[in-house]
C-alpha cells in the first residue's frame, strides 16, 4: 500500500504546470535526439547537466527522465524507415521494421513500435513502483557464472537469424565475434586484434557496424543492382494498425515488456539481450500463417516484441540506480552524477529520505509515457513521408545521415573508413547470401560472454564446474539447452510416434 500512497503523492506534485512543462520539454528533446544516429540520451543528459545549478531537483529529474524515455521512442524511427539504428537497443527492431517499411508497411511498423513502447514503458514504470526493490535483491545474487549462462542463452537466438545456410550464418557470427575482440582487453589491458593501430584500441563501435551493414551496405547493393532509367518509389500504404495488426502485436508487446524489465534491473543486463531474446521468442511463437513474413516482407511481431523489450529494459535500468545507487548504463551513470550534484545519495534509504522526489519522479515517468505516445502517433504521418523522397535523393540522404552520425560521435576519419569499409564487406555479404544480423549479435554478446567467462573462472579458481554447480546458472543452461534442442527433439518424437 506504501506504493499506492506514494504514487498519489507523486501525481499531486507531478501534475503541477511547471513539472508538466519540464516533462513535455524532455519528451520533445528526447524524441529529437533519439532520431539522430549516434546522439543518445546519455550525451543529451550530460549536455543538460549544467541546469542542475538553476533548477529544482524535481524539475531537473523530470526533464532527464523525459529525455531518457523519449530517446527510446525516437530510436526506433530511423531503424524502421532508414534501416539505420540510432542506438544499440533498436538494432533488432531494424531487422523486421526496415523490411516492413520496404513493403509498404512503414506506418503499422512505426505505430506498433510507438504503442509497444507505451505499453512497455507503463509496465516498466509500474515495475519500478511496485517490484523494483524486490527484484534488485534477486538480481544481486547473480554472479559472472549466471551472466555467462545468460549469454549462452542469448547465443541460441542467433539460430533465428542464421538464414538459409548454417555454414554462411556461422561465418557471419564469427566475423562479428572477431570484430568484438578488437580493442584493449578489459582484464589485462593488452591490445588485441588492433594491428598495432592506436585508433582501434577503443574497439569498434557496434552502432557503427550496424549502420554500416544495414544502411551503407544496402545503398551499395542497390547501386550494384541498379537498373538505369527505372524510377522506383517505395509504397507507403496504410498508416495505421489494422485490427489484425493490433491482434498480432498485443502478446508480443506483453511478452517483450515482461522480458525486458528484469534484464534492465540486472546490473549487467542492458537493452541488447532482451531485444534479442524477444525477437527469438516471437519468431518461434508466431502463428504458422505469418511465419514466412519473418526475414522476407517483415513480420509485425518482430517489431512489436523487441521494441517493447527495449523500453521495458530502459525503465528497469532506473531501479538499481534509485534503490542501490548503482548505475548500469551510461545514461544512469550521468543521472547519478546529477543526483550527487544536488547532494542526494541514491541508495536503499532514498525511498524514505527523499520520498517526495522519488514518487514525483515515478509519477512523471507515467506522464512522460502518455505524452510520448500522444506526441509520436501523429508524427508517424510525417515520418512516413520520408519514404516518398525519390530513390536518388533518399539514398544520398541515408548515406549523408550515416556519415553524420559516425563523424559526430568521434570526429574521426578512421571511423568513417571503418563505416565505408564494413559497408563494402556488407555489400559482398548480401551478394553471397551471408546474413548480416549474426555479425551484430556476435559483436554485442562476444565481449560480454568472454568477460563473464573469465571472471567466473577467476572467482571459482579455474573450476569449470562452477557453471553447473551454481543452481541459477544450471537453470539458465537447461533453459538454453531446451530452447536449442527442444524443437528438434519434439519433431523427432512426433515422427517416431507417427511411425510407431
Amino acid at each position: 500500500m506504501e506504493a499506492i500512497n506514494g504514487l498519489s503523492l507523486g501525481f499531486s506534485h507531478a501534475l503541477s504546470l511547471t513539472n508538466l512543462g519540464w516533462a513535455l520539454l524532455g519528451c520533445f528533446l528526447g524524441t529529437a535526439v533519439g532520431v539522430l544516429p549516434g546522439i543518445g540520451p546519455a550525451l543529451t543528459i550530460a549536455l543538460l547537466l549544467p541546469i542542475t545549478f538553476k533548477v529544482s531537483a524535481t524539475g531537473a529529474f523530470i526533464l532527464f527522465c523525459g529525455v531518457f524515455y523519449g530517446a527510446m521512442y525516437g530510436g526506433s524511427t530511423t531503424s524502421i524507415l532508414l534501416n539505420a539504428p540510432g542506438e544499440s537497443g533498436s538494432i533488432i527492431t531494424a531487422l523486421e521494421g526496415a523490411k516492413m517499411a520496404r513493403n509498404g508497411r512503414a506506418g503499422p511498423a512505426l505505430a506498433t513500435a510507438a504503442i509497444g513502447s507505451f505499453v512497455a514503458g507503463g509496465v516498466g514504470t509500474l515495475g519500478i513502483a511496485f517490484l523494483g526493490p524486490i527484484i534488485v535483491d534477486y538480481a544481486l545474487v547473480l554472479g559472472p557464472a549466471e551472466y555467462f549462462s545468460l549469454m549462452l542463452l542469448c547465443f541460441v537466438t542467433v539460430s533465428a537469424v542464421l538464414g538459409g545456410s548454417a555454414l554462411r550464418g556461422l561465418t557471419s557470427l564469427f566475423f562479428g565475434l572477431t570484430l568484438g575482440l578488437v580493442g584493449i582487453d578489459l582484464q589485462t589491458g593488452q591490445p588485441r586484434m588492433t594491428f598495432g593501430l592506436p585508433e582501434l584500441f577503443d574497439g569498434v563501435n557496434v552502432v557503427l557496424v550496424a549502420v554500416a551493414l544495414f544502411a551503407v551496405a544496402e545503398a551499395l547493393h542497390m547501386a550494384w543492382t541498379h537498373a538505369e532509367g527505372k524510377a522506383q518509389l517505395m509504397p507507403v500504404g496504410n498508416l495505421w494498425l489494422s485490427r489484425a495488426d493490433l491482434k498480432r502485436s498485443f502478446w508480443p508487446w506483453i511478452r517483450g515488456a515482461a522480458l525486458g524489465f528484469p534484464f534492465g534491473v540486472l546490473p549487467a543486463g542492458g537493452t541488447e539481450m532482451p531485444t534479442m531474446l524477444s525477437y527469438y521468442a516471437e519468431r518461434r511463437l508466431v502463428a504458422p500463417e505469418h511465419e514466412h513474413e519473418f526475414g522476407t516482407t517483415g513480420a509485425i511481431e518482430g517489431v512489436a516484441g523487441p521494441e517493447a523489450a527495449n523500453n521495458a529494459a530502459a525503465a528497469g535500468v532506473l531501479v538499481p540506480m534509485l534503490t542501490l545507487g548503482l548505475p548500469t548504463s551510461a545514461t544512469a551513470a550521468i543521472m547519478l552524477s546529477a543526483f550527487q550534484s544536488y547532494g542526494i545519495q541514491p541508495g536503499p534509504l532514498l525511498f524514505q529520505t527523499q520520498a517526495d522526489l522519488v514518487w514525483t519522479l515515478i509519477a512523471s515517468l507515467f506522464i512522460a509515457n502518455v505524452m510520448l505516445v500522444v506526441l509520436n502517433l501523429p508524427l508517424i504521418g510525417l515520418w512516413v513521408r520520408i519514404l516518398k523522397i525519390p530513390t536518388p535523393q533518399l539514398y544520398a540522404g541515408i548515406l549523408v545521415f550515416a556519415t553524420i552520425g559516425t563523424y559526430g560521435i568521434s570526429n574521426s576519419i578512421t571511423d568513417l573508413l571503418l563505416l565505408y569499409g564494413i559497408g563494402i564487406i556488407g555489400m559482398f555479404m548480401r551478394r553471397f547470401d551471408f546474413p548480416v544480423a549474426p555479425v551484430v549479435i556476435g559483436m554485442i554478446l562476444g565481449p560480454m560472454a568472454e568477460q563473464a567467462l573469465r571472471q567466473a573462472l577467476t572467482i571459482s579458481e579455474g573450476d569449470w564446474t562452477t557453471f553447473i554447480t551454481r543452481p541459477g546458472s544450471l537453470t539458465i543452461l537447461v533453459v538454453a539447452g531446451l530452447a536449442l534442442l527442444g524443437p528438434r527433439i519434439y519433431k523427432l518424437w512426433a515422427r517416431r510416434s507417427l511411425v510407431g
Binding site: 575482440l181 532509367g229 530513390t391 549523408v400
Partner: protein
C-alpha cells in the same frame, strides 16, 4: 568462381585472426583463461568455416541456387563508381573543407549514382540541409564536429568566432 573467392576471403580472414591472436603480448598476470585464448578459438572456428566454404565452392558453389543472384545481371559499374566516388570524396574533403561541403559533394555524387539528372538541384537541396544539420549539432547540441570553410564564413557573418 566468385563463390570460391568469397570462401578464400573468409579463410584469409581467419588466418589474419590467428596472426593477430599470436601477436597479443603475453601477460604477466595469472589467469585461467588469458587474453589470447578466446581470440585463438574464434580464429580457429573462422578458419574452419573458411575451409568449409572453399569446399562448398569447389563442389559447385551456392550462388547458382539463389534465385535473386542467378537472375541478376552484371554489376552496374557506372552506378557503383559514382557511389564509390561519393564515399571517397567525403573522406578526402571532410578534413580540409569541413562537414557541409564534404557532405554536399557526397550527396550529389550518390544521387547521380542512382540516376539523378540535375546536379544543380541536388546542390540546392543538400547544401542548406547539411548546413542546418551542422548548426543543429554544434549550436543546438554542443557536439563539436569542427567548423570548415563554409561554416566559419557563416559564423563570421553572424559575428561569432568560429570554434
Amino acid at each position: 568462381m566468385p563463390d570460391l573467392l568469397a570462401g578464400l576471403f573468409v579463410l584469409a580472414f581467419g588466418l589474419v585472426g590467428f596472426w593477430q591472436a599470436s601477436a597479443i603480448p603475453v601477460t604477466p598476470l595469472y589467469a585461467q583463461v588469458g587474453p589470447k585464448a578466446v581470440p585463438y578459438v574464434v580464429a580457429a572456428c573462422l578458419t574452419a568455416l573458411g575451409v568449409g566454404l572453399v569446399a562448398a565452392a569447389l563442389r559447385g558453389g551456392w550462388s547458382a541456387q539463389i534465385a535473386e543472384v542467378a537472375e541478376a545481371g552484371p554489376p552496374n559499374l557506372r552506378s557503383l563508381g559514382w557511389l564509390g566516388a561519393g564515399l571517397v570524396a567525403n573522406l578526402i574533403l571532410i578534413g580540409p573543407m569541413g562537414f557541409s561541403i564534404a557532405a554536399t559533394v557526397q550527396f550529389v555524387l550518390v544521387a547521380a549514382a542512382f540516376g539523378s539528372r540535375s546536379m544543380a538541384r541536388d546542390v540546392i537541396i543538400a547544401l542548406p540541409l547539411t548546413l542546418l544539420v551542422w548548426f543543429l549539432f554544434v549550436q543546438g547540441l554542443g557536439v563539436n564536429i569542427g567548423a570548415g570553410l563554409l561554416e566559419s564564413a557563416i559564423l563570421r557573418l553572424m559575428g561569432q568566432e568560429p570554434v
